[in-house]
Amino acid sequence: MGLSVRLKKKVNGFSLDVEWEIANELAVLFGYSGSGKSMTLQMIAGLVKPDEGFVRAGHKTFFDSAAHVDVPPRERDFGYVLQDLALFPHMTVMRNILFGAPRVSKQDKLSRAKEMIEAFKLTGLEDRYPSEISGGQKQRVAFARALIRHPEALLLDEPFSALDNPLRIEMRCFLEEVRKKFHIPVILVTHDFYEAAFLAEKIIAYSHGEVAQIGSLEQMTGQLRFSREQLPY
């Protein structure tokens, strides 16, 4: 299990040209805003079409410009969580989670949703609307909805950046738990160095639309990984 991509795209004077590969690990896409991190995730998810390249996860090819493969987003097996979470405001917590369920029988969908609700500590909130739950709970709903299909990989586009510090730290621990539970590659886009330092098994540093550096934090900084106590927040 892993994910490998090569993506080339020119749009409005910005040029992205990246190639990287991750195993079943948590990789952080790190870099200034505007360096092409979010666009990379959009291309992996199939929302933006690269000019050239490929997207492969496990044994599946979702995009390959040379072989003219371009699987539509709905058939790509990725869990995608955005900064604003994109929870459907007109659906309850339960319906939001069910919306991510694969095409199985209604019974199976329900039992999967119940499993997710339990796993993500959302019991009792099933009938609430997103506007009626807290920020941390919303995050958990978004993760449950993205993971109910057991995707090939999880794509996270700065999902914690709108949270205040205590909650952000809580969510980092939560993400580690998610990794342990689902054993799938996770790509986390962030421009928060401490988040990267805390979570990353691999860091892919972007600069001006290219991969500037790739490796573990130790390799990249020449230092030991930060311990939790050393982080300022």
Binding site: A45, G46, L47, P72, P73, R74, E75, R76, F78, Y80, L82, D84, A86, F88, P89, H90, F99, G100, P102, R103, R145, A146, R149
Partner: protein, 221 residues
């Protein structure tokens, strides 16, 4: 109120209901297409559907005669095949109301579909749903306010339709005289008491519908 007045009121409601039913159906599809699709001639299409909003209703009615009249482009074919012509029937009144109310539905619905958060639509795609399902379960429910407001506005507009109806359906007492047409006849023949009553009734009805449209546009999803 006389039986004629009751007939006019019932006919008006019947015409406006039928027109609104088709306006919602057709208008939503057109609004969705204009809001979400890119194709050549899109803005031209928008202009075409908006024209009845600004053209004098007599001109719209004239075009309708050219198309649907007994010798019209489509009307001729229908007449030759079935012996039926829409001219001077209550269906003509409904068709006229449909055409003049359609732009209101399209404008309101298009704006509300365009205002649906792009991220929510993308989320639906990445969660395994195709365009049709995303439209039915995410986009249209979130644009509901605009769709309902558009429907109510269209109903109010259809209720008040006069010019195009006169051209296409005529003003035949007991057959095609909707309230606005009946008021015209009553005023023309000096029957002021009846005209007064119907004018007040139509004003109140339209006011109520506009109020409802406003309420829906303000209400949260």
């Amino acid at each position: 109120m006389s039986s004629n007045a009751f007939f006019s009121m019932r006919l008006s409601l019947q015409v406006a209901s039928m027109a609104t039913f088709f306006v919602v159906l057709v208008g939503t599809i057109i609004a969705y297409t204009l809001a979400r699709k890119e194709f050549r001639g899109k803005e031209l299409l928008d202009v075409l559907f908006t024209l009845p909003l600004v053209l004098p209703p007599t001109v719209t009615g004239y075009y309708l005669i050219v198309v649907f009249g007994r010798n019209g482009l489509i009307g001729k074919i229908i007449y030759e095949w079935t012996g039926f012509t829409i001219m001077f029937t209550w269906y003509a009144a409904a068709l006229a109301s449909f055409v003049v109310a359609l732009p209101l539905m399209i404008k309101t619905t298009r704006a509300s579909i365009e205002s649906v958060d792009r991220n929510l639509i993308n989320a639906a795609y990445t969660l395994g749903h195709g365009e049709m399902e995303t439209a039915l379960r995410v986009i249209l429910p979130l644009a509901k306010k605009g769709i309902i407001a558009g429907a109510v506005l269209s109903f109010a507009r259809a209720l008040g339709e006069f010019g195009a109806t006169l051209m296409l359906a005529g003003n035949i007492t007991g057959r095609t005289d909707t309230m606005p047409l009946a008021i015209y006849s009553l005023a023309g023949s000096g029957e002021w008491t009846q005209a007064h009553a119907m004018v007040i009734l139509l004003t109140i009805m339209s006011g109520v519908f506009l109020y409802l449209a406003n309420m829906y546009s303000k209400r949260g999803t």
